[in-house]
Symmetry: C2
């Protein structure tokens, strides 16, 4: 299939691609944008091939780019060549990557998760910062977590910022979104070790030191909103509350940092 | 001293305050902006009082705000009242905090650091994201670190984003900036345990597992640039290289996350 050349900023496809930087347009289309050869290669190797592949005209040749282009064409997708300037406009980045792709969003309901596929799961409640969200996906990949469950109103995991911060883990980690009222019964009805899975949060309430806490898998590590933390009743619903040392003036860590320190502790404990 | 009222967007003081969101203006003035009652109170309790205090007209009264105002007046500073809209314009935030302050920058040379005041120090090399930088300051406060040393060209720790992400730790942590060529001799000439202080980095090169590594204080935890990591010769100059498990596809963590997981491990090891 020949590549389509796009040269004009006012081209409807450029407008469509740009529109995917906004949540309402992503939700209406059910699509999202991801950039970078490495990230798109991670996606391909996880079975996610872009429906539209956009490449800079003056890119350097690369075998991974050839593989990507072949995969897109094999699945009937479209390959577009355009200028750096237009790529910058599409991705909102002054120094854009030389390649970007449009992906279809996928099922993010709890029933799409296989909770027994991993010993660690990350759970974020009302996490508002897409960078924190992407960082949690990236950490999940690193600790061998199954995925990330987003509770209540979180940032969109398919935003450009979250996808970028995930460094590709948005494609490798399982992802679900649910209200707390739906998540908790789902967790408790599962076949996991204790109540379907151990729900753990960092807390000051009736908590044990995080370094010697009795973690069991599947262990669901719950992190709260950046400014409010977890609601009290969410904390109380946890199977295990742990404290982390706070040696200074602050009483909390960045949400993604807290999740990562706990996740590495659970990984060391469960092996 | 009476409070000055500012009602116009074109007021020169408003322009000056807004200009502090840009690095070149901060450097020219030697001043920076911080927002929020809690953060400004942390600053005051650490002996840093704003030279100019800006308050929203429709703020709620608060004893900490009274204490702040009194401190500013006691030190001959200026107190300004203005509208929410103007505060939003100054801080670049649509829902601004009801109070902001202008602080003088302070000495950030290595000689201002007391390396024996803490067992843990964080060191970041070419860290470009102000959010990551602020998060590292916040983590440093939490683990009882002495402070953060910024090597080579890093984001500005006095940017609004970094100050915000630090959650006040920019005032509680010691802060220094230096080129690598200056930092390394400084480190080696110090009175610390081994070569003046143990320099530790996460690495894949000739490294030991981070959970059982022989940390000694003062321990300097070195984290590299977000996309490039550490230069090879910087890694090789470290006294200890440690590996962290990477169970997934990615071969690295977010810089602030890696620093935090290591810092909590060193804290657990050194006590």
């Amino acid at each position: 299939m020949p590549r389509r050349q796009i040269t004009g900023f006012s081209n409807p496809t450029v407008k469509y691609l740009r529109s995917l930087r906004e949540k309402k347009h992503r939700k209406a289309a059910g699509k999202f944008l991801a950039e970078g050869l490495r990230l798109l290669t991670d996606a391909r190797e996880c079975g996610r091939v872009p429906e539209i592949l956009v490449m800079a005209e003056d890119r350097d040749p690369h075998p991974l780019l050839d593989a990507l282009e072949a995969a897109v064409e094999a699945e009937g997708g479209e390959v577009i060549e355009t200028s750096d300037d237009i790529l910058a406009k599409i991705t909102g980045k002054s120094n854009p990557q030389t390649v970007a792709g449009v992906f279809g969003e996928w099922d993010t309901s709890l029933k799409a998760l296989d909770r027994n596929s991993a010993k660690i799961w990350l759970v974020a409640q009302a996490l508002r910062d897409p960078g924190n969200l992407g960082t949690m996906l990236r950490t999940g990949d690193a600790v061998g977590a199954g995925g990330l469950i987003l509770i209540d109103d979180c940032a969109d995991p398919f935003s450009v910022e979250a996808v970028r911060a995930s460094m590709g883990a948005v494609f490798t980690q399982q992802l679900a979104m649910a209200r707390w009222e739906v998540f908790l019964p789902w967790l408790r009805s599962g076949p996991g070790s204790e109540h379907g899975g151990q729900l753990v949060a960092a807390s000051l309430r009736d908590a044990v030191p995080y370094r010697s806490a009795p973690y069991v898998g599947p262990c669901f590590i719950l992190v709260g909103n950046e400014s409010q933390g977890l609601p009290e009743d969410y904390e109380l619903a946890c199977d295990l509350r742990v404290t982390m040392p706070m040696m200074g003036r602050a009483d909390s860590l960045n949400a993604a940092v807290a999740g990562a320190v706990l996740a590495y502790e659970v990984l060391a404990s469960l092996g």
